[in-house]
């Protein structure tokens, strides 16, 4: 025993004197961020400042009209750091509020999509039979419509409002979640541990909750990070078409659309919301790339 200890200590001393760590002491860690990830972090940081810090600025007031300072260019005054629109409203405040609203709508819509998609997909995949046929048939039906046209139609019928788009966006993007969840449920339903749980008296709901749901979470998380960008774009498109959030509430799409009239004299009206949209979508997309590749790397680790 003594011999062993001394030998180990001698080895350690050797390594220490050589200035290197003993093998296995420190695993090589992936320390450097990939460029896309760093870009994403910077972009999302800017968005976070816009959304979180700006509302606390003394100049924050997205609704105050002051025609005497209408169409002021950016960086002229501290009162209106990024200039004003045609009614003299502070652009920085408006862009900040628009981003907040957009994120709120999109987050709600995304959660609704995930909720519908995952519950429907797991149910269809676990129970199979008629439920499966009906559910996946309707999913194909939703998928076969061009989504923007479908949205425009629904919003036109229901009347445009923030709530309407949140719900409508929440009901048309669930198909991919349903498909992924169903595929997972299909592959797991005949696993012996699922059968074993049923043998011990588990109900379908129990199996779905305890054995199926936890295993779709990683894939769903990756998909939401990707869909976040898509939904932001679609929400902006709807507002741009005047079918989304109604004035005077600001929206990125609506601001771009209004700013078009002043494109030659005051281009910042258009450029500013577009830039924010770019930051937002770019940040989210680069981040989702990171998640996707991470997911692929760890796929061997997820239980199959």
């Amino acid at each position: 025993m003594n011999v062993l200890v001394t030998r180990t200590e001698r080895k350690l001393a050797q390594w220490r004197s050589a200035g290197s760590a003993p093998p296995g002491a420190a695993r090589p860690r992936r320390s450097r961020l990939r460029p896309a990830t760093s870009v994403a972090i910077v972009l999302l940081f800017l968005v976070a400042v816009l959304v979180i810090v700006v509302p606390f600025l003394p100049s924050y007031n997205p609704y105050a009209i002051n025609l005497s300072v209408a169409l002021e260019p950016p960086f002229r005054s501290t009162a209106h750091l990024l200039g004003t629109d045609e009614l003299g409203r502070d652009l920085l405040s408006r862009v900040s509020l628009a981003t907040r609203i957009s994120l709120l709508i999109v987050t709600f819509a995304l959660m609704l999509n995930v909720l519908i998609g995952v519950s429907v997909g797991l149910t269809a995949g676990y129970y199979r039979g008629k439920a499966d046929t009906v559910i996946m048939g309707s999913a194909d039906l939703v998928l076969s419509f061009p989504i923007l046209i479908l949205l425009v139609t629904i919003v036109a019928v229901l009347g445009p409002s923030a709530q309407t788009i949140a719900v409508v966006l929440g009901c048309v993007f669930w198909v991919s979640y349903a498909r992924v969840s169903r595929a997972t449920a299909l592959s797991l339903r005949s696993r012996e541990y699922v059968i074993s749980a049923v043998t011990q008296g588990a109900s379908g709901w129990w199996v779905i909750r305890k054995h199926l749901l936890p295993q779709v979470v990683p894939q769903i998380a990756i998909m939401t990070s990707f869909d976040l960008g898509v939904l932001i774009t679609v929400e902006a498109s709807l507002s741009y078409l005047g079918l989304g959030i109604q004035p005077p509430t600001p929206s990125l799409g609506g601001m771009i659309s209004d700013g078009q009239n002043y494109l030659q004299t005051s281009p910042w009206l258009c450029v500013l919301p577009s830039l924010v949209l770019l930051l937002l979508i770019g940040g989210v997309q680069f981040m989702s790339q990171r998640f996707t590749s991470e997911g692929q790397q760890s796929r061997g680790m997820t239980a199959t």
């Binding site: 012996e192 043998t199 109900s203 305890k210 295993q215």
Partner: protein
């Protein structure tokens, strides 16, 4: 064991059919068996003889393509085959439990052992407190001889060996002290030394809970050492039934004799083990009459084997489904003198 007590489970004339492209396949064709409280019944038979399907039908766990087309499954005077799904579910795990062959895949690899065993407790007792469940899980793990159960409680299945996983499965199955435990080849996937330990754990657990057990197995050695009674199945039917002494000392069906003769003779005579000629019939094309007659040495071209299906009750002893059960003893004594050595004659290996 005790034939006087009220039977726990009584399967009679059970027919289970699978839908196949080639038409309905009768996996179980007129099966009958009885399990009494506290006893250990072994079901032996070749692969595809309907052992597992009979027990899956009992548990109400037949796959979607299979149907019970005739017969009764009575458990404590309740007809299981017509029980509503919800009631059947409450029965499973609490009164009827089942252990499967492969412990490697029977545990969810992403959930810690303790949590998985605990969930089976909360499944039937949703009001049990967390601390109470944990205490009971650790108690169960130690009962199935898992060393250091407090430590193993938070282990993942991949950190368990095959034998330990099967112990964990036994702990789950015995969590509610079921009246009937069905073990479908519980030791087939394990190596021989572990097999003996698992059987011992099963015996200990049954001693504590008083559960009856149906053990499905290929291993006649296991049967000889553990069983109270034995049912020999062939082609979806019970060929012979009896106590373990009766089956090993006084087998009355030519098929049973063929199985026993197939065991290796360790007395050093150097003879190769006997194999029953031919193959079990396809489920879609069963021979008429006795399903065993094309392979049977006693058939000898007699018409009744082809025309009439023998039933257990018709034989003189009521134990063997054979028209000529009275001839088997003489035939066996002449052809396989060594098998009469009985269950203690190291029949297994």
């Amino acid at each position: 064991m005790s034939n006087h007590s009220e039977p726990l489970l009584c399967v009679s004339d059970l027919v289970v059919e699978f839908d196949t492209p080639a038409g309905p396949a009768r996996a179980v064709d007129g099966m009958a068996l009885t399990v009494h409280p506290h006893e250990l019944l072994c079901i032996v038979g070749e692969s595809g003889s309907g052992k597992s399907v009979t027990m899956l039908a009992t548990m109400g766990l037949l796959p979607a393509t299979a149907r019970i087309t005739a017969g009764q499954i009575r458990y404590k005077n309740r007809e299981l085959s017509s029980l509503p799904a919800g009631e059947m579910r409450r029965l499973r795990g609490r009164e009827l439990a089942m252990i499967f062959q492969d412990p490697m895949t029977s545990l969810n690899p992403t959930i810690r052992i303790g949590k998985q065993v605990g969930e089976i407790i909360t499944l039937h007792e949703p009001k049990a407190s967390k601390a109470d469940v944990k205490r009971r899980v650790i108690d169960l793990l130690s009962q199935v001889n898992i060393p250091r159960p407090e430590y193993r409680y938070s282990a993942f299945p991949h950190q368990f060996s095959g034998g330990m996983r099967q112990r964990a499965m036994i702990a789950m199955a015995m969590a509610h002290a079921p009246a009937l435990l069905i073990a479908d080849e519980p030791t087939t996937a394990l190596d021989v030394t572990i097999q003996a330990q698992i059987l011992e754990v099963l015996r200990q657990m049954r001693e504590r809970t008083g559960s009856a057990m149906v053990l499905i197995t290929h291993d006649l050695g296991v049967v000889a050492e553990t069983a109270d009674r034995v049912v020999v199945m062939y082609s979806g039917r019970a060929m012979e039934t009896g106590t373990v002494q009766e089956i090993f000392h006084d087998p009355q069906h030519p098929y049973t004799i063929g199985l026993l003769a197939g065991l290796l003779d360790m007395s050093g005579t150097g003879k190769t083990a006997y194999t029953i000629p031919g193959q079990p019939p396809a489920l879609t094309r069963r021979p008429s009459g006795c399903p065993f007659h094309p392979r049977c040495a006693l058939h000898q071209g007699r018409d009744i084997c082809r025309t009439t299906t023998p039933v257990l009750a018709d034989s003189p002893s009521g134990r063997a489904a054979c028209h000529f059960a009275n001839e088997t003893a003489a035939w066996a004594a002449e052809k396989f003198p060594h098998i009469r050595r009985g269950p203690s004659g190291r029949a297994s290996q």
